[in-house]
Point group: C2
């Protein structure tokens, strides 16, 4: 049938975006939305199983394959899964707010970051500029242009054994003569044996420009996340951030998580499509950065890039298929510098990308970058590093050893798998208090608007506060006999109404369900059990940490007290916790400033011991024990347990 329709064109109009797209009759509606630039969730990559891409067909005919994700009521209202729908006539489609892919607030940076920053590195970017005034050639001094350049570097800067990129030579004669033998040479410094400082340095000419261009010397640092791509433009003379920008990863339509994307990459042409999608995003971020600054593209000499292993391999066009199959093997742990143009990134020809090395399939360059950026590998202090994102990765160690693991926390901390969960954006419920008599809530919403959902940190605050108020029991169930109509029976069992329909942006009650609570408990249990298992494997315990560094989506918006109350973070004095925001971007930036740290990254990645939790009986025990609020074993959260018990007693007395 699609065959018959393929030559006929129809128009799809998307609201509230108010954009049109012309497509062939029979086109998939999710693909039409992607083409129109309308961003939808599509967690499962278009297989129809997740139900996150729901839209409402307001006008026109479409053919759909109905799944259990669409209730009868929804079906009656014209709600369809975009990925399961084919366009038959001109359509008007409404995209509800909960199906829209929205951007987390950019400004979620860390606080007190300076307390956890790598130290002891020299400000020495991998690329450095040298200005030369060369004597013009004569019949007696007739060295080649290249030899003259190398001689100049030796005489004026004592630089010897300098190599050269082949492409430089092609235009060298014109360039050296353009400003009468005054040129600026850009040199790349690398360790002879990558990751070994003591073997001396290798220098290579990667750019030659007429005249003195030393003033203009920039680089880019990037974090390539599964959900978002963040970039910073750096001034290499001043060691400063000039601009930053964030965009959704263009791969989202191919699936919300790395596993789905790897599966998509196995389809014919799939790897190329996924690669192009993220490269397009990177180019868009670069455009944003240039638009925000006075910087010329040609003055950007290099790019450092950190991402999880799957993102890194997809970006580089490396076959990722064995990442998702036991025993979970990535193609490589480290990557040589790559020329931007070979990937389609719109920077100066010859500009290089330094890619952070990975530890394993599920502990990637983003974590190594965080470890480098926070300098935890440099200190004697026993540090617990956790990066909370779609996945949770943890590292424990000090300057002598580092162990790491990936915890399949699931997306709950980012609002995934939560009925009204959304990313931390305008309209997200972030703060929560409850009147312990009336059980009426007091919510704090990002942007002070009406709420449209709950973000991860809001969820943690809400559950912690409900635990204290006795609304949620320690096994994560609602006290359903409380005198409030906010606790009611919904389709997923008991639920608590956070906001009534008229007080919301979405026109429906925003609720917290017992399933939501269970999902959050699973997530926090995975993180905490990971921490315990890892600690135990090196003969220590969560109580021994001198420092806890929190990186990831929460920025500094995670309430430490709440996180301890629910049993996500170990019970330690609050001053031991440090937020670093995007640790991956932090490390990428510092490495752009210092070859010392670039060298370290390879060495540290190789030194980090990966513990495979999915294979560990210890982990399964710890996980089961952690499926309680805050924990089955009162002794690991003594203070929280004591307070909760006390309250319970008091409440009991009051009654």
């Amino acid at each position: 049938m699609a065959k018959d329709l393929a030559h006929k064109k129809v128009t799809v109009h998307f609201n509230p975006d108010n954009v049109d797209i012309v497509v062939a009759k029979g086109e998939n509606l999710l693909q039409a939305a992607i083409a129109a630039g309308v961003r939808l969730h599509a967690s499962c990559g278009g297989s129809g199983t997740c139900g996150t891409c729901k839209v409402v067909i307001e006008k026109g005919d479409a053919e759909t394959t109905r799944t259990t994700r669409i209730s009868d009521e929804e079906y009656g209202r014209g709600v369809r899964q975009a990925c399961q729908t084919r366009v038959l006539t001109d359509l008007t489609v409404y995209v509800p707010v909960e199906s829209r892919l929205e951007r987390a607030i950019v400004a979620r940076e860390g606080k007190n970051v300076s307390a956890a920053l790598a130290t002891g590195w020299r400000f020495k970017p991998p690329l450095s500029k040298f200005y030369l005034e060369l004597p013009p050639p004569t019949m007696t001094d007739n060295a080649s242009d290249l030899s003259r350049l190398l001689r100049g570097l030796k005489q004026q800067y004592k630089l010897k054994n300098v190599g050269v990129d082949f492409d430089i030579l092609k235009t060298l004669p014109g360039i050296v003569r353009r400003k009468n033998w005054r040129v600026t040479v850009t040199l790349l410094t690398t360790a002879v044996r990558e990751g070994r400082k003591d073997d001396g340095r290798r220098l290579r000419i990667v750019n030659v420009e007429p005249g003195d261009t030393r003033e203009r010397h920039y680089a880019l640092a990037f974090d390539i996340g599964t959900t978002t791509v963040c970039g910073q433009l750096l001034d290499l003379n001043k060691g400063k951030i000039l601009a930053d920008s964030i965009e959704f990863n263009g791969q989202i339509p191919y699936g919300q998580d790395v596993i789905t994307r790897i599966a998509q990459a196995q389809k014919p042409g799939g790897l190329k499509k996924l690669q192009t999608a993220v490269i397009d995003t990177i180019n868009k971020v670069i455009d944003n950065l240039l638009a925000k600054s006075q910087v010329n593209l040609k003055d950007i000499g290099h790019m450092t890039l950190a991402g999880n292993t799957t993102m890194t391999e997809l970006l580089l066009g490396v076959d990722p298929q064995y990442i998702r199959l036991a025993p979970y093997i990535p193609a490589a742990n480290f990557f040589p510098p790559v020329e931007v143009r070979s990937l389609g990134i719109h920077l100066r020809k010859g500009a290089l990308i330094f890619v952070f090395p990975a530890v394993s399939s599920y502990v990637g360059g983003d974590i190594v970058s965080g470890v480098i950026g926070t300098g935890m590998y440099q200190r004697n202090k026993l540090t617990f590093f956790l990066d909370i994102g779609t996945n949770g990765e943890i590292v424990i160690g000090n300057s002598d050893w580092l162990v790491t693991a990936s915890c399949s926390a699931g997306p709950a901390f980012e609002g995934g798998g939560i009925r009204h969960g959304i990313v931390a954006t305008d309209g997200a419920i972030e703060d929560f208090d409850i009147d312990e008599k009336t059980y009426e809530p007091k919510i704090g919403v990002i942007g002070k608007s009406k709420p449209k959902g709950i973000c991860g940190s809001g969820l943690i605050n809400t559950i912690a506060r409900m635990m204290e108020a006795g609304v949620i029991t320690r096994n994560g169930k609602f006290q359903h006999n409380l005198p409030t109509k906010r606790i009611r029976t919904g389709e997923d069992g008991y639920e608590y109404v956070m906001a009534w329909a008229p007080d919301t942006q979405i026109g429906r009650d925003i609720v917290l369900t017992e399933i939501d609570i269970e999902n959050l408990i699973r997530a926090k249990a995975a993180m905490y059990a990971g921490c315990q298992t890892l600690s135990k494997s090196v003969g220590t315990s969560c109580a021994a940490f001198d420092q806890v560094i929190i990186a990831g989506a929460f920025g500094s918006h995670l309430n430490i007290k709440s996180a301890i109350t629910i049993g996500l973070l170990p019970e330690l004095p609050e001053d031991r916790f440090i937020f670093v925001g995007n640790g991956s971007l932090l490390g990428a930036r510092l490495v752009s400033f210092s070859t010392d740290l670039l060298d370290d990254s390879r060495r540290i990645a190789a030194m980090m011991t990966n513990i495979e939790l999915s294979d560990s009986a210890d982990f399964m025990d710890s996980y089961t024990a952690a499926m309680f609020l805050p924990h089955t074993h009162a002794d690991v959260f003594p203070e929280v347990t004591r307070k909760l018990s006390e309250r319970q007693k008091n409440t009991g007395k009051r009654k």
Copy 2:
């Protein structure tokens, strides 16, 4: 006018090739010939000044710009310069034998080459293959594919600190698993600091193949000459030549000499055109080599390439313009390894080209290659190396020092600038004797056919013999009062008829003119004066050479005695002379077999001192003195002079 005609098509038929080509009305006839694959001389690059591209218009109309190169008689016969002619109607064009570009005989290899070959090198190609049987990964042994490979190299072959080409990683997961973790890894070995042996080696993975492919391990060696491109296919396991092939350099239509080609490269798009032309030739030679052997293209791992500085820069797409402008500066003396695909060469992606370093604009990688291949830089013996081609380059030295110069000998030794000069191909007069009574010649022709011209070695033999026979005086003039009708007055003064028209292939008398003799004297004088100047500059003399190595177009076909008689080669015992044929190809081949020699090439190029003769008063004096047969100063050719005087006396007595 061309504008009006551009949309009309006409057909040009070339004889005796019997090929048609359809072109736009108004098309240049030389371009039409190139497009039709008809090879014409075009020494001046199509500017109309050389007159080597003459053709006969047999039928149809063409518009021509007449130059002084076309005599009235020729014009009447329909002779036109193809480069000055535009096609107006369908044409039939005859290409006379003297305008055809023909190939010198391939087999012009050296003899006794083994007496002058580099020694002391280990058979150790820059690329080597290692077979690995790796343990499959498990949950506990979950190193990345790359790490597993590196671990295998370390455990099985004690190879450490091995790097990797980025492109390898893209397909590595599939490749290691295809034959159950049995793979063959190809490693590239380079010196850490190129040209310094003592700094240790750098190893890099440049290819990984499933299974055991060690049996199939090949390389290519190329000499890129201004006129011809020679290639050899090498078996790196056996150290043997499997096939060789030679083709005209596709740049010839853009000019016969390097200066003309550089000028052409300055036109818009010119550099790209010239680059493409020679790359096409290289690809053709590769096709020939593969067709001659059972070798699969993907099993060729690298290519070593030697050429003069201009050929090297044009091939690499490097701007060559300052090579032809005083003070004659090339873009670079050395070139980093280049990926074949970046140049458009049809080898396996990632295969590398090693390009020989140059000394100066006019002493190129071909000479360095000759010096390396003949091992003259390794011996105590004082060696004189000369490469006679379109240009003549000379090197004097030993293991301690090397001086070099380029002599603008002109193309006489290759038959250029000689009325009936042709390259050494079938129909070329190569041997000559003369009856000292009748002055009738006895000629030896390559291929035993009727003659169609004289090649360079034939010219030297002819003039030497005529000197002995008293037909040519010591200032290069004919004894025009001899009793023979073979000496007559032609358009260029006196000339000697080597063959009467009916006895030739070209249907016209083949003659040797006084202008021809003068051109040859200029050429030999430049070579000899260069040798003298260079010797003097280092405090030695031509009489002191322990060894004379002759490379270049002559192969082993240069008659040493004749060459000494005319004063081209220094008067030394004949056993000191060694022919090596194509020295450039010889060096390229040996370097393919040994990284030791590859390292040496960069070091030796830097050690060779270039003397600029065009700037030297000494050279001008020597040159003037050498404009005599054999030389103005009898003492530098004592034996030749004695014999000639004796003969003269005897002849005088006989008379």
